[in-house]
């Protein structure tokens, strides 16, 4: 019945909601260039769900691109392999800043990774429970305000990034003995966030966190940097070890929360889907520091990374599985 019988004319992408705004922006530009092109279809499914679909196979019913807020996992790569979806191109499109922020009416926090670790860990320094209720319990220099931190849910890549970039260093600082533990134990001690109230899992919707912060000046929020930038008239970034989250500090690496963002593309689809190559080329023209994506909150990757990505696109260099974990 379907007149397209087994082929499709538009590009399809699935995956992370963090990368979604950037890919959609490129998709829009792609179509603005020529309105006769079929508009790409970009789904926001989360990286995990996206990877699962992406690696289901090759062909018109499977997406060409997956947006990822983390690298592909080895198990996912193996699934791709099993389903004949290899080779795939791994393209880093830039970085996402994980920022801590408070309301402009807030108490003007200045925190360290250690403070954050001690306030939010489920097992601070290996203890069974975290008894800290106010920031002062953590660090006498901080105000006696109840700890209330809005952050992403346990399955979110932003949360993993937060745990890895801020909690873990804070953990080793506060509790050096942890290095002697097994890696699993270390994870439990360093990365597990408390679930007894002070850390509030606020879902995937970052705008909601922004609004909750405005309504509740004593609270702290953890979310993507772009939301902080868009709402700088209401929110203030919280400096960590004296460094405030700004585009420059995150791009330069002095602010601790930055993680790479990727797209993965099936090489086999490059010839079968009209415009896919142009799409990638367009992507590469938009991710520079003065590109359009940065206006939307992307943190541009360093020059060498961008060059490497362009090379991957041009020469269709497949991902090397040995670099995965």
């Amino acid at each position: 019945g379907d007149s397209n019988g087994g082929a499709r004319t538009q590009i399809t992408a699935v995956g992370s909601s963090t990368v979604y705004p950037f890919t959609t922006r490129v998709a829009e530009a792609f179509r603005n260039q020529d309105s006769n092109r079929d508009a790409p279809v970009i789904e926001s499914t989360g990286t995990g769900g996206g990877m699962a679909r992406f690696c289901d196979g090759v062909g018109s019913e499977y997406p060409d691109i997956v947006d990822a807020s983390r690298r592909i996992k080895k198990s996912e790569y193996q699934k791709c392999e099993a389903n004949g979806a290899l080779p795939i191109l791994e393209i880093q499109i830039g970085m996402d800043g994980v920022a801590l922020a408070e309301s402009l009416q807030g108490p003007s926090f200045e925190l360290t990774k250690k403070d954050i670790y001690l306030a939010l860990a489920a097992h601070p320094r290996g203890k069974d429970t975290n008894s800290a209720q106010t920031w002062r319990d953590v660090n006498p220099a901080l105000p006696a305000i109840p700890i209330q931190v809005y952050g992403p849910p346990s399955t979110s890549g932003t949360r993993d990034a937060f745990a890895e970039l801020i909690m873990e260093p804070g953990c080793t600082e506060a509790f050096p003995e942890v290095e002697e533990k097994s890696s699993d134990d270390k994870k439990m001690v360093c990365m597990q966030l408390r679930s007894d109230g002070p850390y509030i899992d606020a879902g995937e919707n970052d705008n909601l966190i922004v609004q909750k912060l405005t309504a509740n000046p004593n609270a702290v929020g953890i979310f993507g940097y772009s939301y902080l930038e868009e709402n700088h008239d209401r929110l203030r970034g919280i400096p960590i070890e004296g460094v405030s989250p700004t585009y420059e500090t995150i791009a330069g690496g002095s602010y601790p929360g930055a993680r790479p963002l990727f797209i993965y593309v099936k090489a086999k689809h490059l010839n079968a889907v009209p415009g896919l190559k142009e799409f990638l080329r367009l992507y590469s023209t938009m991710w520079g520091p003065d590109g359009d994506l940065v206006k939307r909150g992307l943190i541009a990757a360093p020059q060498d990374v961008r060059d490497h990505s362009v090379e991957i696109i041009q020469q269709q260099i497949p991902l090397d599985p040995s670099t995965l974990d």
Partner: protein, 442 residues
């Protein structure tokens, strides 16, 4: 011949029954009791009124909030942008502008930069922030519409940026406020109804977004949902109430239908994914996917499965409430079972069936979770033209916009909610009309 028709009354049949005086309603105890009953009656009635009023007040509050936030979304600001084309050095072959490649040609000629430069020329360094990022598209359309403007200086009304929009409707950044003041002084700014909002599709730029694509998607999806869920639900209800023998098997069907109503909607998404979009191997052949992903057809089918239990349950109750004497009457003059059902039971049960349909369809219209899994939570920039085209729906659009970084989306989100509610009302109006028409009391 005293009593030809009836026998004499049996003289002493129930004589054993003690006579009783009529109840004395004037005793204090009785009066008090009646007062209490009346008080209870009044309280009960007031409670009912309170329930209705509070529910309605809650709704009114929601609606007023939405309306106050969303009305701005229906208006847009335009800025008169003067562009001196010859000076920009744009080079395009005017003859090719009615060819299919015109878009690409103009984009390739650097129109975007030209417009940016023109904005700086007209409004100073803040200029590019005054006009929408996609203002150049408007300019492109203008050129395509009338290539002769390339020969000289033209003033083109382009959409203002979201910042300017906000500075006008509420309070924006100081720079934007300043820009608005100067623009207003120059009479370069106009406000008007945002037709684009009703005619365009999704975009990443709040000044360019429109609801038409999602509206059409919702329409197609609801159409499929209704065409599947309503007949199947009603027919299933008829079978279960009127035909099925009352035994374990019907109990099983009943329980499983009731249970389906409690299944989280996202799980229906999993089902839709597996059944309509999955691939199976049958006798060594790969079969599927049956239907294209992200299409209104799949979304509609998935939602139909989701709301079918609601319709079945409501319909069964409505059918059950039709008095048996009506069935007897029709059967008694030789109507067949099918005739009894379709001539009498169904019309009488229709109000209740429609109630189930209304709340079921309302639920389907507002649902997002299952559509995520069948690919409708997506950025789709062109409105669908058929049931199998890639499409998204209003609530998904609302959900996606509510998560957008740009603040300009806030009022668009509310405006989209208003559109959704209007759609809901329009959809229900027919059903409600029919329901009022068919309601009989006996």
């Amino acid at each position: 011949m005293s009593d030809p028709l009836m026998p004499e009354l049996p003289s002493a049949g129930g004589g054993s029954i003690a006579p009783r005086q009529p109840t004395d309603w004037t005793t204090d105890a009785m009066r008090q009791r009646i007062r209490k009953r009346y008080a209870r009656e009044r309280r009960f009635r007031r409670l009912g009124l309170v329930a209705v009023v509070m529910s309605a007040a809650f709704l009114a509050f929601l609606l007023v909030t939405m309306a106050s936030q969303g009305l701005g979304g229906f208006f847009r600001t335009e800025v008169a942008l003067p562009i001196d084309f010859p000076q920009t050095g744009i080079e395009v072959d005017k003859a090719s502008l009615d060819q299919p490649g015109a878009d690409l040609a103009l984009a390739g000629a650097g129109l975007e930069n030209i417009v940016g430069t023109a904005a700086i020329a007209a409004f100073g360094d803040y200029g590019p922030n005054v006009i929408s990022d996609n203002a150049w598209l408007t300019v492109r359309e203008a050129i395509k519409h009338d290539p002769s403007i390339l020969d000289g200086r033209a003033v083109i009304h382009v959409p203002a940026s979201a910042e300017i929009d906000r500075a006008i409707s509420e309070t924006g950044t100081p720079e934007a406020e300043a820009a608005v003041t100067t623009l207003q002084a120059e009479n370069a700014i106009t406000e008007g109804f945002n037709w684009r909002f009703l005619s365009a599709s999704d975009s990443t730029d709040p000044t360019q977004v429109g609801i038409w694509g999602a509206l059409k998607g919702s329409f197609f999806t609801m159409l499929v949902t209704f065409l599947i869920a309503f007949p199947v639900g009603v027919l299933a209800a008829i079978y279960l109430e009127e035909y099925a023998p009352k035994n374990r098997w019907t109990d099983l069907v009943e329980v499983s239908i009731n249970n389906l109503a409690a299944v989280p909607s996202i799980i229906f998404g999993l089902l839709g994914l597996a059944v309509f979009l999955g691939t199976w191997t049958l006798f060594g052949h790969k079969v599927g996917p049956l239907l294209p992903r992200s299409a209104a057809l799949v979304g509609g089918l998935t939602l139909a499965l989701m709301i079918m239990p609601v319709i079945v349950i409501a319909s069964r109750n409505a059918i059950k409430a039709v008095p048996p004497s009506i069935r007897d009457a029709a059967l008694g003059i030789g109507a067949s079972k099918v005739q009894v059902v379709f001539h009498h039971v169904l019309p009488l049960a229709l109000p209740g069936i429609l109630t189930g349909t209304i709340i079921g369809m309302a639920r389907a219209l507002g649902e997002t979770a299952p559509l995520l899994l069948v690919g409708m939570r997506a950025f789709i920039a062109t409105p669908p033209d058929s049931l199998t085209d890639k499409a998204t729906v209003l609530p998904v659009q609302i959900f996606l916009w509510s998560d957008e970084v740009s603040r300009g989306f806030v009022e668009k989100t509310s405006a989209a909610i208003i559109v959704l509610l209007v759609f809901l009302l329009a959809m229900n109006a027919i059903a409600i009309y029919l329901r009022n028409k068919f309601e009989t009391r006996w």
